[in-house]
């Protein structure tokens, strides 16, 4: 019954979030620290659980003493715990920067929103119940809106408004899908949905999948459901964008992985032809379009936040392609790349924060000469972009290699897909190298902004991770290997949750 305690990952942050208004009465800055410590607890505890499930296999945590499929349960597996851990970790690093950012009037609300957002993302990865997932997606999207609209100014308002419009459209699609599922299968438990999904009338099933896809792709930043991305990123603070990309985007893609491969997919060969619709093809096309649009749009931008926003969109597209290709290698590659992207992109967003403060502008043309002023930040930015582009011996290289391998080995029209992806990758390489070049241009920058030690600490930790994964990817490989096996093994998922059936 030890695994039941995993619910603490959700309960403790909730409890703390409810208490935060009291803390804020004492001191608004205190709420930041409380949030930080809570996420810290979550990270440590999830790390412990991750090692536990790595050793002992998947577990479930039941809630209210009602066993699945009757009650709500959490599903703790290498895959879900891995991503919960990464989400908590990224959030922890971001909060390190948030702690020392200059205090504002709305700090208490911001820290509650951050806490709930991270909690919800973790809960989405852990939950084994589709309606529960919906509830947490709601919490996630509302708290994200709060984060985006932090300063009540025009641009962040605009971004937040766009996000909330699309997020509510998305949630209504999700709710419709859940309604259809409950109406037809009579259950909300993911395992029993997985068990009985192929019994559905194919047309009906494809409607459910379409709706679900539309709903979750808003969070996963995939075209055409991602119109919120650039404006929302632009409106938000740079380091908080690390949360948008590293937490919200990661969660969205996680759900896509879980739903399309384990729940809706048909198990053995991971082919997701539902009804007469080839969902592999649909997702691949969406992914390729997202990548193409993201990279080319980023090429034409000057604002660093928008560039990074478009770039994360494009990376999500690449990962979506791996979901569509859905052979074992591509799933490995997709998980690997999702992790790498979370680290490198967070690094970039966090580095961008002090740079914007030093230079006084998010416009990359104004960044010229930063490397001469603060070499550490410039190098950290280079490391982050190298990780993202996939320069050898940085983390993204291995995952991109695996993606190319898996897509090419799928053959057929995948050659077109890989061609488009690599064209986009070329564009991405170009605009990142352009920024790095600008950093080292000869130019004097006058600034009195001094970078706080915590920012350096956050940057240092992420840089070390990016490089360490690049040099020694084998330590992550064991986790990814188990996670991928957990992901594709549909019958194992069902039997872990529902007990052995047949």
């Amino acid at each position: 019954m030890k695994s039941n305690y995993a619910v603490l990952l959700i309960a403790i942050p909730l409890l703390v979030a409810f208490l935060q208004p009291l803390f804020s009465l004492i001191n608004k800055r205190l709420t930041k620290w409380v949030t930080f410590l809570t996420i810290g607890f979550n990270f440590i505890y999830s790390l412990k659980l991750l090692n536990y499930v790595m050793a002992n296999g998947a577990q479930i945590a039941i809630i209210g003493n009602w066993k699945p499929p009757f009650g709500i349960n959490l599903y703790l597996s290498p895959f879900s715990m891995l991503f919960a851990t990464i989400i908590y970790f990224v959030a922890l690093i971001v909060l390190l920067v948030y702690l020392i950012d200059k205090p504002t009037e709305v700090d208490d609300r911001m820290s509650i929103a951050t806490l709930l957002m991270v909690m919800a993302s973790g809960a989405i990865t852990l939950t084994g119940d589709i309606f529960n997932m919906f509830v947490f997606v709601e919490i996630l999207s509302i708290s994200t809106v709060i984060l985006i609209s932090f300063n009540n100014k025009g641009i962040s308002f605009k971004g937040a408004f766009r996000y909330i419009v699309l997020a509510s459209l998305g949630s209504s699609m999700l709710l419709l899908a859940i309604g259809f599922i409950y109406g037809s299968l009579g259950t909300l438990n993911l395992a029993s949905i997985a068990y009985r999904f192929n019994l559905l009338n194919p047309v009906y099933a494809s409607v459910i999948v379409f709706l679900f896809m539309a709903g979750i792709m808003v969070e996963a930043e995939l075209f055409p459901f991602n119109a919120w991305v650039p404006e929302a990123y632009k409106g938000s603070k740079s380091y908080l964008n690390a949360l948008l990309s590293g937490v919200v985007g990661t969660t969205g893609i996680y759900v896509l992985f879980r739903m399309f491969i384990t729940i809706f997919g048909s198990g053995q060969n991971h082919i997701q032809v539902i009804g007469s619709v080839n969902f592999n093809a649909v997702i691949i096309v969406i992914g390729v379009l997202t990548t193409l649009i993201g990279e080319f749009s980023a090429l034409s931008q000057k604002d660093i936040k928008k560039i990074l926003a478009f770039s994360s969109m494009a990376q999500m597209g690449i990962i979506a392609v791996t979901i569509g290709v859905a052979n074992m290698n591509s799933i490995n590659a997709g998980i690997f790349h999702l992790i790498n992207h979370a680290f490198s992109k967070s690094l970039l967003f966090i580095v961008a924060f002090p740079i914007i403060n030093i230079v006084g502008s998010a416009n990359i043309d104004k960044w010229e000469g930063l490397g001469r002023k603060n070499i550490f930040l410039a190098i950290a930015f280079a490391i982050g972009s190298f990780g993202l582009i996939g320069i050898p011996f940085f983390n993204g290289f291995w995952s991109k290699m695996m993606i190319v391998e898996s897509v090419v080995s799928a053959g057929g029209w995948m050659y077109l897909v890989i061609g488009t992806i690599l064209l986009s990758a070329l564009v991405e390489t170009f605009y990142f190298f352009r920024i790095i070049f600008k950093l080292f241009v000869d130019k004097k920058i006058e600034s009195t902004y001094s970078v706080h030690i915590f920012i350096y600490l956050a940057i240092l930790i992420l840089s070390i991770i990016v490089i360490y994964i690049g040099i020694k990817p084998s330590f992550l490989a064991t986790y990814i290997h188990k996670a991928a096996i957990d992901l594709v093994d549909k019958s194992h998922y069902i039997s872990t949750v529902l007990g052995v059936i047949k």
């Binding site: 766009r162 419009v165 699309l166 459209l169 494809s206 379409f210 539309a214 055409p224 459901f225 119109a227 919120w228 991305v229 650039p230 007469s276 619709v277 649909v282 096309v285 969406i286 649009i293 080319f296 749009s297 090429l299 034409s300 931008q301 478009f310 074992m328 290698n329 490995n332 590659a333 190298f386 320069i391 050898p392 011996f393 290289f397 291995w398 290699m401 695996m402 190319v404 391998e405 898996s406 090419v408 080995s409 890989i418 061609g419 690599l422 064209l423 990758a425 070329l426 564009v427 170009f430 190298f433 352009r434 790095i436 070049f437 080292f440 000869d442 020694k472 990817p473 084998s474 991928a484």
Partner: protein
């Protein structure tokens, strides 16, 4: 052993980075010394053929990533010669960078580049090769453009084309791996298996070859990728241009020799159905033509350029053209000639670029019409350049002659009259631009502002002198280089040419270079004697003879406007202008980039719609996806 060397290289790069810009003399000397040590180690590795070192990185799913280094004859040959040339260049760099106001911190990148250079030549599987290739690409990008705006534009030519090639190769590598009949990442076994596969699936093999060829051609600036060297060489740091031209541009040729040429040779052996032209596969013939076009095009572009570094860069392009043409003849002489020309070109072109670097070091000018008459002021530099262009033009007794001789042997004995004509045309054209460059820079009238120019410091002269000696040495006794080349050629499955130290035996004729060299050196001294006893020239101010004694300043004239090198080949340019206007590859590339930018700008407009607009996109997208999903 190899991995130790590579590890030391990384450590050396870190040390160099840590030394910082204050200690620039120390870091450059350190790197030169370090490379000397590496060269020594490499020399010790000679003969350990077939040794392989494996380092597992990780395995996930069905792929196992590992780094495999081994010593092949071709690889050792390239690694050793490039390292020697690199040491020469770095000796030059010590003084050059000591006197530079800001040294730009490229040293540690360059050490990494030197390391990846070795890794390319020692990698025995495609993953390692690709990793080394990528590291080489990005480090060289940042060396070419260490923070100068002009150089960034130039480096982009190089970088985008290179990355395009690299990605083509990446697809090629995984396509190889994904093909069930091959399913290997080892270079040597992939050649054998591909050759076998060409019997049953010629289409697949053709595409894979095309992907690799794209990559190698892009790196070596073969047509249609020829625009980048001129841009990159011209704007790169002056001490990096020799490396760029002498070593880096050869990686593509190395790839061709490593993979494409042996593959064609294998295919000819095992596949009887292959379509042939003149005894070589038709693909090879087409690729040889690409080389020939490059040679002619490079020559033309060199003729019409006024920038001395661009001129030398285009000359490099045309020399690459000779080598490519020669290699794709696939005969023993052809491959030997190509390989030999690669070495010779590395030697004489780095010498040329070093001397140009020396000129620019003292004068800070790149345009040829602003220079002139430097021969007396900078004698060693002049001598280096003189011998360099003699070698480049393929005149005995220097090394360029020897390799061109073999190339002509190969082309004629293989009965390729049209290719021979092209190469001959390019070779003749080389005289036009080379002697123009010599005359514009070193001969003629010395502009007044350069009256105080001195010869470069002795340390910078050392590499130039070494260059002179090796050009003469290889020209006198080509066997020194041809013997190791013979080993490499033999490893490809061809019978190597018969060579001795000073004797080359071709199919059509044979030649004793010692006799040729002695004759020419004798003739040189004979002519030099005339120079000594003849009348000394009368020194005239540049504008003295143009304005009939009037003060040129009144007309707003400058010596530069009346420099004979200005618009020297304007008539030639005029002849080809109609073609150039219609068929300028550079404009196509520029248009591509422009369109990519505006395409991106258009796409990003989509994300500026209002909330209502974005929800419209949402619903419209959903409808389209559903409809498309059901159609597909």
């Amino acid at each position: 052993m190899i991995s130790n060397i590579l590890l030391y290289t990384m450590i050396a790069a870190v040390i160099s980075f840590a030394l910082g810009q204050k200690l620039k003399a120390v870091r450059w000397s350190f790197s030169a010394l370090f490379l000397g040590y590496v060269g020594f180690q490499l020399y010790g590795l000679y003969g350990q053929w077939g040794m392989v070192e494996t380092h597992n990185i990780f395995s996930l799913g069905s792929i196992n990533f590992s780094l495999n280094f081994g010593i092949t004859k071709l690889g050792w040959f390239f690694a050793f010669f490039t390292t020697i040339i690199n040491i020469m260049i770095w000796i030059f760099s010590i003084v050059k960078n000591m006197n530079e106001k800001e040294e730009r911190g490229i040293n540690f990148l360059w050490i990494l580049l030197a390391g990846s250079n070795l890794a390319i030549f020692f990698s025995v599987d495609w993953i390692t090769f690709f990793i080394a290739w990528e590291i080489m690409t990005w480090t060289s990008f940042f060396i070419i453009t260490p923070g100068w705006k002009n150089s960034f534009k130039a480096a982009n030519w190089y970088f985008i084309l290179s990355m395009f090639g690299a990605y083509a190769m990446l697809v090629g590598i995984w396509w190889l791996y994904a093909t069930p009949a091959i399913h290997t990442l080892n270079i040597a076994s992939s050649i054998a298996l591909l050759a076998k596969l060409s019997i049953t699936a010629p289409g697949t093999v053709g595409i894979i070859i095309a992907l690799f060829v794209l990559s190698f051609f892009a790196k070596s600036a073969v047509f249609p990728f020829h625009p980048w060297p001129a841009e990159a060489h011209a704007e790169a740091p002056d001490d990096f241009s020799p490396y760029l031209s002498g070593i880096m541009i050869k990686y593509g040729l190395y790839g061709i020799l490593l993979f494409i040429v042996p593959l064609f040779i294998q295919i000819m052996k095992v596949n009887p159905n292959i379509a042939m032209v003149n005894g070589i596969p038709v693909y090879s013939y087409i690729l040889a033509w690409f080389g020939a076009i490059t040679a002619v095009l490079g020559t033309y572009l060199a003729i019409v350029s006024n920038d001395m570094k661009k001129l030398a860069a285009y000359s490099t392009v045309s020399n690459i053209g000779y080598a490519v043409t020669s290699m794709f003849i696939l005969s023993s002489a052809g491959v030997t000639g190509g390989l030999f020309h690669v070495v010779n070109h590395a030697v004489f072109k780095s010498a040329i670029f070093l001397s140009l670097g020396a000129v620019k070091f003292r004068t800070h000018e790149r345009e040829m019409h602003k220079l002139g008459g430097l021969a007396t002021k900078m004698p060693i530099t002049f001598l280096t350049f003189l011998l360099g262009i003699i070698a480049a033009a393929g005149i005995p007794p220097l090394n360029g002659y020897a390799s061109k001789w073999i190339i002509y042997q190969a082309l004629l004995s293989g009965h390729f009259p049209f290719l021979t004509t092209m190469i001959f045309l390019a070779s003749t054209g080389a005289f036009l631009y080379l002697f123009r460059a010599l005359h514009s820079i070193f001969l003629g009238q010395l502009p007044r502002k350069f009256n105080n120019v001195k010869e470069v410091p002795f340390l910078m002269q050392i590499p130039m002198i070494l260059g002179i000696l090796s050009m003469l040495g290889i020209g006198y006794a080509p066997g020194i280089v041809l013997k190791p080349i013979g080993l490499a050629v033999k490893a490809m499955g061809l019978t190597p040419m018969t060579v001795e130290n000073t004797l080359m035996v071709g199919k059509l004729s044979s030649i004793n270079t010692a006799v040729v060299s002695s004759t020419f050196i004798g003739a040189f001294f004979f002519a030099f004697a005339f120079y000594l006893i003849g009348k000394k020239r009368h020194h005239v101010e540049p504008l003295d003879n143009y304005t009939a004694g009037q003060d040129p300043e009144e007309f707003g004239l400058t010596p530069e406007l009346y420099h004979f090198a200005l618009k020297f080949y304007e008539p030639v340019k005029n002849i080809f202008r109609p073609i150039e206007e219609k068929l300028n590859i550079k404009n196509y590339y520029r248009a591509l980039v422009r369109n990519a930018n505006s395409f991106g700008a258009t796409l990003s407009e989509m994300f500026k719609l209002s909330g209502a607009g974005s929800s419209m996109i949402f619903v419209l997208g959903l409808v389209v996806i559903i409809l498309a999903g059901w159609m597909l």
